[in-house]
Symmetry: C2
């Protein structure tokens, strides 16, 4: 409100160097880019397969694990909470796409695996999904793609480092 406050806010940013504002721009652009693609993929999954991205990701995890996974495994791989997995699994089982099986060695646990119908359905969805992504990213040159891949890898590593430092 007062002039002093106003100046302080600005100088605080200036002292922190030019990176502050640039980083915000970079993050907002990264976010909008990811959201744009994600929203389109969600839309197409809904329109063409009457499903959702979490369901698709769930089936993708099981597809890669022929022997099945426990809810805990899926929770860790999808980076979501256990309660979330319980709900998704209930609906997918209800639709006959996955099945539950008791684990002999541990009566607390259960393994989830694709049913034949689930495997078939995921194959259809997966092929379309791959085409969509190629279509959406098709505008980039091979050079740009490679550069972007490398930069994103560096970004991710940097972010992970920052999180584990700060989180310690």
């Amino acid at each position: 409100m007062t002039p002093d406050t106003h100046v302080d806010a600005e100088t605080a940013l200036d002292h922190a160097g030019p990176g502050h504002k640039d980083d915000l721009r970079l993050w907002l652009r990264l976010l909008s880019c990811a959201r744009l693609i994600e929203a389109e993929i969600r839309r197409r999954l809904r329109v063409r397969f009457d499903t959702t991205l979490p369901r698709f990701d769930f089936l993708a995890q099981l597809e890669r694990a022929p022997d099945g996974l426990t809810p805990g495994d899926i929770s860790r791989r999808m980076m979501v909470t256990g309660g979330n997995v319980t709900g998704l699994a209930a609906r997918l089982e209800e639709e006959g796409l996955i099945e539950r099986r008791a684990v002999r060695e541990d009566r607390r646990a259960v393994t989830l695996r694709l049913t034949p119908a689930g495997r078939r359905e995921f194959a259809r969805q997966s092929a379309a999904h791959e085409e969509w992504v190629a279509e959406l990213l098709g505008g980039l040159s091979a050079t740009d793609r490679a550069a972007l891949l490398r930069l994103l890898d560096r970004t991710r590593r940097g972010v992970r480092a920052a999180i584990s430092e700060g989180g310690a």
Copy 2:
């Protein structure tokens, strides 16, 4: 099912060039990168301010519009549905961070604006948010930042073009 079908599926991918799989990798990396940052920011907003990203974004929109915005405006700017805005606005109003005001010229509409408390609260959150982003992205060199910004811009334009073509 039949051998022919199987071959067709594979050749279809091959004909599309090596970009298919690469694009998928690129998309997954972009997504994991964005989600990593977003999850950390959501976590900090919750822990330190007991709030959420949608609420923060909502206040940010109002902060930039001193004269207030209608739910429709916010819906468009945040790229979410109107019903979503209704619910967020109800909770933010309940907490005294925003206020509703009738519009004289149009009795269907209403303008939402920050209360003084809302403006104060957002200032706190916004400053912290900016620091967090700088901290998380701080590992990147100036060169990488600039390159990434440019590549993401190209990506976004390409995706938008692909969507508007396909969506026509």
